[in-house]
Symmetry: C2
Subunit: 225 residues, 2 copies
């Protein structure tokens, strides 16, 4: 953590909020990492761990909202401070969703245990989507720390790679050669979507940080990027 000169008490509290949000991004990344392992190796204890650890995420989420409300009720905050607070609430919602998506992956692995959920044919896709998801969660954390709009825009590139993988995965599914039946196709469809949405929320966190630092709305940002 870099120390900045002459930060106000308010600013320090905003940084504390961003610190909690960054920790939550890390937790979401760890959860998706473990959930992917559970999925690839039909590892029940690891799936159970993700499910148990999710409570920690909910605690952090409540803590972050409390901190954001404390900020909101302060006397005469500046517009930029209010922006940071509103953005904070939105980021809590994004990272909550990332945690919930990792939880869905873990629960799918648990539901199919002792069988493996995925046909070997698509293991490589999910290993790579898992790696990208974890990378995106950590990048979101770094953006929260650096507050650098350039870092935030970098997130979009990794998301493009995720979208490509997701598209290829669908072409494998839709191929007439798919031999693994409908149940497996349904699992692969939903799992693919969980990873893709996880990445989308990480990108949104980046966009919100840009907004926090530049004052551009998400809509304006979409138009300019």
């Amino acid at each position: 953590m870099r120390r900045k000169p002459k930060t106000s008490a308010y600013q320090e509290q905003v940084e504390a909020l961003n610190g909690i949000l960054g920790e939550m991004c890390d937790l979401a990344g760890v959860a998706m990492d473990l959930a992917t392992q559970a999925l690839l190796h039909a590892n029940l204890p690891v799936a159970e761990q993700v499910i148990t650890d999710h409570d920690r995420m909910l605690e952090m989420s409540a803590k972050a909202e409390k901190q954001a409300f404390a900020l909101l009720s302060q006397q005469a905050p500046k517009p930029a401070d209010l922006r940071a607070t509103v953005t904070g609430f939105q980021i809590v919602a994004d990272v909550d969703r990332m945690g919930a998506l990792a939880l869905h992956v873990a629960k799918t692995a648990r539901r199919r245990h002792p069988n493996k959920t995925l046909p070997e044919e698509v293991d490589g896709y999910f290993a790579e989507m898992g790696r990208l998801a974890v990378k995106l969660a950590h990048a979101a954390r770094e953006v929260l720390e650096s507050q650098d709009p350039q870092d935030a825009l970098q997130l979009e590139e990794d998301d493009d790679a995720m979208d490509d993988l997701h598209r290829h995965l669908f072409s494998v599914l839709m191929d007439r050669e798919w031999k693994h039946g409908v149940e497996s196709a349904v699992d692969v469809t939903l799992l693919g979507r969980y990873y893709e949405r996880f990445a989308d929320h990480a990108v949104l966190i980046g966009r919100r940080v840009v907004f926090q630092t530049t004052g551009m709305t998400p809509q304006q940002l979409i138009e300019t990027t």
Copy 2:
């Protein structure tokens, strides 16, 4: 619209914001209604209409965020007013998502045209999920107008009905008798999820209104309901 005595200028602006959000809920409901028709009847012009109308939704969304920021930058708002503003931003995100999900349904119908996306066997499920989705969107609008926590909790019941339908739909898909192939199963899986998530966001809007009027956080609400 009921007129309340002695509302402050700030309060009037909060009501204006809620009015825009309510209109957005209506638009999302109309979009899901049309998208469901397009899906059930392989109706391309109706699917195209949903896709074109989505721009209107994005305009309203930008307008709502602008209104919320104007509120936020006022001098010395009361805590309850700030709460309404923060909630406003969250509801914009929910209703945006509802619109995006209706758009996904319309785009799926367009992609499969001139074929029908759904096997007849599941038409009934989607007709009913569509009806519930539209009902939920309108209920969310009413809650925004009435600000009545009891109305908000009613939304949860319709969402339970949606979850039941979604579960039954999956048992149809997973049945060994499914004769419509993998491509169709993938479509049905994703479409089912779009309706279910649409309903979840309507419920969230209800929860946020409860928070706006009672000051309870979403987390506390989940624990007490």
